[in-house]
């Protein structure tokens, strides 16, 4: 992956994780929180060289 693209995605990931923590503070998970996590995980896969089969990855 292009280094610049990877940087953009990594920065976006940090912003999304911060956003998710804020959403959780407000109570139960919302549709917005789910969308944030879906987007964050899509990015996570890209910056880790997309390993869509993650049988042994920790899921937290």
């Amino acid at each position: 992956m292009d280094k610049q693209l990877e940087n953009h995605l990594s920065e976006a990931l940090k912003r999304l994780e911060t956003a998710y923590r804020e959403i959780l503070k407000s109570g139960d998970l919302s549709r917005e929180g789910e969308a944030v996590k879906v987007l964050a995980e899509l990015i996570q896969e890209q910056v880790q060289n997309e390993d869509p089969r993650s049988s042994a990855r920790p899921v937290g």
Binding site: L29, V38, V59
Partner: protein
């Protein structure tokens, strides 16, 4: 009934899902079945008549707003929300997640209605992983490379969908067969692999082909692979001048390979999608398995299939592989290789496997078999440590003076200790991962309800550990019986 199946892994995983999907169609003939895959791997759904609609996760479109420096997070989130809403509006009655990944768990959480029946990873309302069924808990705890699981993914998928496979669930797709002008008799060699670490070097394949043709001089070999594997094929051809080779690398769509493989004498290759296609066509298969692979889980499932394991691709033996190719053609069998026999586990190996004890432990924990006798002192010692730790945890859980809030750091520390013990004694990892996974399955609830669930779990854990407790009167080994 409307059913969504998620299979967001790679080509080979999609092909390994075909039998279970066909069984799902067979047992639910009137259902509308949708299959969600990644666009890159959509080709592996062509010819799969068991599903009514193949949906593609639009990853590139969803991520596009984030590919530049400008802050377009809201736009990206808008696209994701819109996409999830389109799936949600399908109102699936059942959602089956065959992808064991964080991403898939969040998609399921978001799109499954509250009344939908869910199998596979999803999320609790607090965002923590929810492992909805026993098969998924088994997968989470025991499946993967360097783990002692011996249940093939094809069988796991079927069990998750709650179907029994039969011979009708195998078979090639109903697709027109493209004519590549191949001879009546040929073998197929897949020159690549799903990952570089599994790939055999071209010169090694060339030597194996020359060895094959010492005994079987009249059998052409068709080389298959994607466009990116053309260079590998060229190098093989440059190193082989006594063998008739037909190079189809980069010349075929993925689904065209079904026709090529189906008419061949056999397919040989590394761990990759063509191997799983050969399982569907029933073509004899030789799997050269290199690197970090759990062949029990992802090996070839053609009725006549054999596996040769090499620790690394560098250990590949052209003599052994070329000789096996010849033996298969001349005698219809291969000696000295791991053989596919069907059933669970699916393979027979002559070598005593150091994971035998761990696999027997898995069968005891999950399938009700007798707990195996422990022969290694290191395992007994690991169990002693686990027992000590578990006793401390139980004492605290059962002590009403200890407030629930004070338990969390204790339980976290206990988890660290359990993991450390499992690292030192991998066989004990089966037990550790079992209890850690079961803990994950405790749903959100009142502090007291969670406390009680944890207490019950650790009590069960203690019962299992107790089977291996050495006593002064213990005689031949320790551990036998059921819990």
């Amino acid at each position: 009934m409307k059913i969504l199946v998620l299979q967001l892994a790679r080509l080979g995983d999609i092909y390994m899902s075909w039998p279970a999907l066909r069984a799902l169609r067979r047992t639910h003939p009137g259902a509308e079945i949708h299959l969600l895959v990644r666009p890159r791997f959509e080709a592996a759904t062509r010819g799969l008549n068991a599903v009514d609609q193949v949906r593609e996760l639009p990853t590139a479109e969803l991520l596009e707003p984030l590919s530049g420096a400008a802050d377009r997070d809201a736009e990206a989130l808008g696209r994701v929300s819109f996409y999830l809403e389109t799936l949600r509006r399908e109102n699936y009655d059942r959602v089956i997640n065959l992808s064991f990944s964080p991403l898939s768990s969040w998609i399921v959480k978001s799109v499954a209605a509250e009344t939908a029946e869910v199998s596979g990873y999803t999320r609790h309302t607090d965002g923590y992983l929810k492992i909805a069924d026993h098969v998924s808990s088994f997968f989470y705890a025991q499946v993967g490379v360097n783990r002692p699981n011996r249940v093939h993914l094809t069988d796991l998928f079927a069990t998750m969908i709650n179907v029994d496979l039969n011979e009708n669930d195998w078979g090639p797709p109903d697709l027109p067969v493209k004519d590549f002008g191949l001879p009546d008799r040929y073998a197929v060699l897949h020159v690549g692999a799903s990952e570089s670490g599994k790939r055999v070097a071209p010169f090694q394949w060339a030597r194996a082909l020359r060895r094959f043709h010492e005994d079987v001089p009249d059998c052409p070999v068709v080389l298959i692979g994607g466009p990116g594997e053309k260079a590998l094929a060229n190098e093989i051809r440059a190193n082989v001048n006594t063998v008739s080779l037909i190079d189809l690398t980069g010349e075929t769509a993925v689904e065209d390979l079904f026709g090529v493989i189906a008419k061949s004498l056999f397919l040989i290759g590394a761990d990759s999608a063509p191997m799983h296609m050969a399982a569907l066509t029933g073509t004899p298969t030789l799997n050269v398995s290199c690197g970090d692979v759990n062949f029990w889980e992802t090996g070839p499932k053609a009725p006549a299939a054999w596996i040769r394991r090499f620790k690394t691709a560098a250990d590949f033996s052209s003599e052994q592989v070329g000789g096996a190719m010849a033996e298969l053609v001349l005698r219809g069998r291969v000696s000295g290789w791991i053989q596919h026999l069907g059933g669970v586990p699916a393979y027979r190996t002559e070598e005593k496997n150091r994971d035998d004890f761990a696999w027997n432990l898995i069968q005891a924990l999950y399938l009700g078999a007798d707990f195996p006798v422990a022969e290694e002192m290191i395992f007994i010692q690991a169990v002693e440590k686990l027992t000590e730790m578990n006793a401390v945890v139980l004492e605290q859980l059962r002590n009403p003076q200890v407030k629930v809030a004070a338990l969390a750091p204790l339980l976290d520390r206990a988890d660290e200790v359990l993991t450390a013990i499992a690292d030192l004694c991998p066989e004990s990892g089966v037990l550790v991962r079992w209890v850690q996974t079961e803990k994950t399955r405790i749903p959100p609830g009142s502090p007291e309800a969670v406390r009680q669930a944890m207490t019950d779990l650790h009590a069960r854990f203690g019962q299992v550990l107790n089977l291996y407790e050495l006593t002064e009167t213990a005689e031949e080994g320790s551990g036998h019986g059921k819990v």
